[in-house]
């Protein structure tokens, strides 16, 4: 099954006429993602990479009622409006590539999405990919291989390196999800862990967090409830206090959001902690062997 997207998912692109959005529309199409329409207000009737452009999400939905996922590429000042428009049109999952969206805008958008049970991924997410099936966002396609490891990370590049090191060790991903680097995110680690726990094609989950915010800590108690093993990696052990490291969300403020507080919370709830990226495939192998060992011993009884 994979989570959120698969080969049958129909998607739309908001802000499709922008430079990055049109390049990645091309790359997504080449990957096999089913894009049924694009939206740029005022550019209705144009075409981008053979995809029809509409003025509004509503109009696009009238022509493609089965469109269920949107990726949002508009500049930050238009992001709130674009996301609300997608919510209004009942798009199930909204993947927000736009970065540095004002905090109060994101708080508002979260509330409206929650009213309708809509998943908002990001802001500042690289997107997500179910390898071999569908890719929504800007993840580099060659990096991901089909497999049974679910991955979820805050940062784009960490998502790529993670998949890369899993692939070099012979593993692949059911779905790889980027949560995003903004301080207020739509979906958080726990939301995605819940989906992986339910997914019949995922055996083990890798989560990669970083300093700042509390999303890793908030997810920790749920890990205890999960039947699937979780391998966790936290970037930023060597980060200086009080300096914002690129991502708006990545800053250690007081005791909040340190790498250590995250590692402690995850460890206490049963996650296996990887010290480096290259340790992750080793720990994934161990976790899988212990599950298989457990199955075998159960069968023998």
């Amino acid at each position: 099954m994979a989570i959120i997207i698969d080969e049958s998912t129909k998607t739309i692109v908001q802000g499709i006429t922008g430079k990055n959005a049109s390049l990645h529309t091309k790359l997504m199409l080449e990957y096999g993602t089913k894009i049924v329409g694009g939206i740029t207000p005022g550019k209705g009737g144009h075409e981008v990479e053979g995809i029809k452009v509409y003025d509004t999400v509503e109009e696009c939905k009238i022509h493609h009622p089965d469109a269920s996922v949107s990726s949002v590429w508009v500049p930050p000042r238009f992001a709130k409006d674009a996301i609300l428009e997608a919510i209004d049109a009942n798009i199930n999952t909204i993947v927000v590539i736009t970065e540095r969206i004002p905090i109060h805008d994101m708080l508002y958008v979260r509330e409206r999405a929650k009213d309708k049970n809509i998943v908002v991924l990001g802001g500042n997410t690289p997107g997500l990919v179910s390898p071999g099936k569908s890719l929504v966002g800007m993840l580099p396609r060659i990096t991901f291989k089909p497999g049974r490891v679910g991955t979820v990370a805050r940062s784009g590049a960490v998502t790529y390196y993670l998949a890369n090191s899993l692939n070099l060790a012979g593993f692949g991903e059911s779905t790889s999800v980027g949560l995003g680097g903004d301080p207020i995110l739509g979906a958080n680690f726990e939301d995605i862990l819940r989906l992986f726990e339910q997914d019949s094609e995922t055996d083990v989950v890798v989560m990669a967090g970083e300093i700042g915010g509390v999303y890793e800590e908030l997810a920790a108690p749920y890990i205890k409830e999960m039947t699937k093993p979780v391998v966790a990696f936290i970037a930023g052990k060597a980060a200086p206090q009080g300096k914002r490291l690129g991502h708006a969300g990545a800053i250690v403020e007081g005791n909040m959001g340190t790498a250590q507080s995250k590692i402690d919370a995850l460890k206490a709830n049963g996650a296996v902690i990887a010290e480096t990226l290259s340790e992750i495939p080793v720990l994934v192998r161990e976790a899988l062997e212990s599950i298989r060992g457990y199955d075998k011993s159960r069968r023998q009884k």
């Binding site: 004002p102 940062s155 680097g181 930023g236 300096k243 490291l245 290259s278």
Partner: protein, 394 residues
């Protein structure tokens, strides 16, 4: 973006939150001191807490006393921070002190209003000692507070009658300001009631969302400019900031030229893990321009502490061919002798590799110390080699 107290009070005045008469002194000229009534309170302007303990808050009964005290505080250090401005404010006889603030509860993803009848102390301390006295009121985002809600908050501080109305008015104005100006925090600690039944915000702590400043030209117009969160910027950080590059100086000798922020953070960890010392944090942001990439390299090459440069480009929204083009153009123009050990993978990787191979073939002497690995070399190996190289060149 945290504001100084005197800047916060400028905003308070605009929102008609009562503050005392004051002047700001920032140079060794004291003529402003004639414009104020004595006695006064003198407050060194710093973002850090604990100003009282650090000796940055003093009283003066006369102009002469004030001048003497300011001379001591101006240019003194609060931790690593140099005090550049002093606020001189009329002193009042205080009857009661309160704490009020609008903030964002990040885990709950909701705005909230905090009120406490013990003001003048750090709220974190009160929360530990008397948690029941720290009252929290949650609101839906982007929705204004009703007047009756402000009266409820005011009553919970133990107030009644005329005083209740006075404080309720400040509560609602503070919350309006918090929403209007995209604040992360708007705090008054203490809010004081004087012997004469007047109310004043004695301190102002305002933290604005830097990502929302595009819609607040009024902040710029008030003479409040974007600045770094905490501490002073180094010269190089200042240069980087001007070019729009998130950059932080660290202590080591390995320049870090990463792609995005997340990997930049992980790269610093990895370098330390393998016994190296990173010289910086840096973030290209999504889809950096040629100029930006070249400026990023320049920051590292021109830093005398940097012995070797570790680079990584995992092309997502940022393409490998753009990255490669910026790299070779930088090398052509600047002919850096410093060794660079890098890895390039991701979107448009093949095109990027062709650009580099061709440049290497045409100018082998310029690329002698530059190695670009591909997707099949683990990043850890690239980092280990950079550390070894830095030692050799150190």
């Amino acid at each position: 973006m945290r504001l100084y107290e005197y800047e916060g009070k400028k905003i308070f005045r605009k929102y008609k939150i009562p503050v005392l008469d004051s002047v700001v002194v920032d140079k060794m000229s004291y003529h402003q001191l004639d414009e104020i009534m004595y006695p006064v309170v003198i407050k060194g302007q710093s973002f850090l807490g604990g100003r009282g303990k650090a000796g940055l808050i003093k009283f003066a009964n006369t102009r002469e006393e004030a001048e003497e005290t300011i001379r001591k505080i101006l240019r003194s250090k609060h931790s690593s921070f140099e005090i550049e401005k002093v606020l001189v404010e009329k002193k009042v006889a205080v009857k009661n002190e309160y704490y009020i603030a609008s903030a964002i509860d990040r885990p709950a993803h909701r705005p909230l209003f905090i009120a406490c009848k013990h003001g003048g102390v750090e709220i974190e301390e009160i929360a530990i000692q008397r948690p029941k006295d720290v009252l929290k009121y949650y609101f839906n985002s982007c929705i204004r507070m009703h007047e009756f809600e402000a009266r409820k908050i005011s009553r919970s501080l133990g107030l009644s009658g005329k005083e209740l109305i006075l404080v309720a008015d400040v509560v609602i104005r503070l919350y309006n300001l918090f929403l209007d100006l995209d604040c992360k925090l708007a705090e008054i600690n203490p809010l004081v009631m004087t012997e004469h039944g007047e109310i004043y915000a004695l301190d102002a702590k305002v933290d604005l969302d830097e990502d929302a400043m595009f819609r607040h030209p009024e902040i710029d117009e008030m003479g409040i400019f974007a600045r770094h969160e905490i501490g002073e910027l180094t010269e190089r950080e200042r240069v980087a900031k001007k070019m729009g590059i998130p950059y932080v100086d660290l202590d080591g000798d390995i320049g870090v030229f990463p792609g995005g922020a997340g990997f930049g953070i992980a790269a610093i960890d990895l370098i330390e893990h393998y016994g190296g010392k990173p010289a910086n944090f840096m973030d290209s942001g999504g889809a950096p321009t040629q100029e930006k990439l070249r400026a990023m390299l320049g920051l590292l090459v021109e830093n005398p502490k940097v012995k070797a440069i570790f680079g990584a480009r995992f092309g997502g929204i940022s393409r490998c061919d753009d990255w490669a083009r910026a790299l070779i153009n930088y090398v052509y123009e600047n002919k850096p002798g410093k060794p660079m050990i890098m890895r390039m993978a991701g979107n448009m990787e093949e095109a990027g590799r062709r650009i580099i191979e061709q440049a290497k073939a045409e100018h082998p002497e310029l690329f002698r110390n530059i190695k670009i690995y591909a997707v099949d070399t683990p990043i850890e190996e690239v980092i280990k080699e950079t550390i070894k190289t830095a030692k050799r060149f150190g």
